[in-house]
Symmetry: C2
DNA sequence: CCGACTAACCGAACAGTGTTAGGTTAACTC
DNA sequence: GAGTTAACCTAACACTGTTCGGTTAGTCGG
């Protein structure tokens, strides 16, 4: 089957099918051969459209993170932080299986840096010092990424009965998939609210002019 | 070389050399063949002492996390949270290359659950509701794990000059290894302090009887 | 219309991975 | 001293990401 009339492959199609496989079978469930098979093609053909598997994963990650919205700073920095974090979390939790890949180090993830830069600039504009802004942005990322990977729903929700007797304080109910998802969201919201709330008064902060 | 007079291998020795390789060459730098070679042995011989590579990594992770101290709750829950988080972070940042493995889901990491159970119990004893205690413990883990992997020092510290012009708000200094480490620690401390500080007043909390 | 060229795919291979089966021999037990 | 076990080995299996050299469909220049 040499050069079909209409091309079977395109970077977009490859990315989209790859992401579907990751969502379905997990990060380790994606192999170039399986991806090729699912595209009706041999593995070698992929390399005409994709430089390497790692690059493919990076592109997928970037496209997921590109849905993150950092434009909530028009109101005030608190709202901005909260909206940004929620948007980040929404992006990550829509494709949780790719999160472990992100853990391998963004190195030069272009989009992430740009967003971080924007976030940082907004905080500085709000009156925080450059160093404070950096640390606050980092702290926000801690909560976002931490909640994306050490979540209850994906963490340990196989057989609740196993845990009940060995860990008396942990509630069995936490491990039911439905409750776990809700608990994840509430834990995230709690951590986020506590973090933002705890910020003021810790450093000198910007509140002398931008807000009472 | 069949059955040497004194055994070359033991689970402990395997774990320790494996961890050394991970620390030196990264998580992907560890292969069973390389590990065996470094132990003066063939790869197959490892499987007499270790069930599988994944199990080996789990054991290593557990042994690292076993140094975490959750016994700071005798003073009060705030101190307890802070000490626990610091201890956790210290454990993780002493072997940062294994953190991505942890991201693949603890599933049944025994030790983690036990520690979580203890933490949870301490919070309940301090007066928080069970659900609140769960969410607070989760939030603490967010900050700990988030700081362990989305750190500045491991994140993007290759060539500062690349970033400076493209991201005007980000300071070049952040990317120098020495500064990055310090910045990581300060960011963690800030996030932790803000989180703990922000907790009181958010939920009803335990402060009516245990503290003013 | 026809030749040159390129783009898209394929088959086969390479070096590497985790893991297992079956063999060899030293050390321990009775 | 025989039998058993424990510790290692060699060889292989099924996989992985990736590359090389082919084969052909489409496209462009003359």
């Amino acid at each position: 089957m040499p050069r079909p009339s209409t091309p079977l492959l395109s970077p977009d199609r490859i990315r989209s099918v790859a992401l579907a496989i990751i969502d379905r079978d997990g990060l380790d469930g994606l192999s170039m051969r399986k991806l090729a098979a699912e595209l009706g093609v041999q593995a070698a053909s992929l390399y005409g459209h994709v430089r390497t598997k790692d690059q493919l994963l990076n592109d997928i990650a970037s496209s997921i993170l590109s849905t993150v919205d950092v434009s909530g700073f028009t109101v005030d920095w608190r709202e901005g932080l909260i909206r940004c974090a929620r948007s980040y979390r929404a992006a990550l939790s829509s494709h949780p299986n790719i999160v472990p890949f992100l853990a391998y180090g963004p190195a030069g993830r272009e989009e992430s840096l740009q967003r971080l830069d924007l976030l940082h600039g907004a905080l500085v504009d709000a009156g925080w010092s450059r160093r404070e802004a950096t640390m606050i942005a980092a702290g926000l990322m801690y909560i976002v990424f931490g909640s994306a990977l050490s979540s209850f729903s994906s963490g340990f929700s196989s057989d609740p009965a196993d845990y009940t007797d060995r860990y008396p304080h942990l509630d069995r109910a936490h491990l039911l998939p439905g409750v776990a998802r809700e608990l994840d969201r509430d834990s995230f919201e709690l951590a986020l609210a506590a973090f933002v709330r705890g910020l003021q008064g810790l450093c000198r902060g910007p509140d002398r002019d931008s807000r009472a």
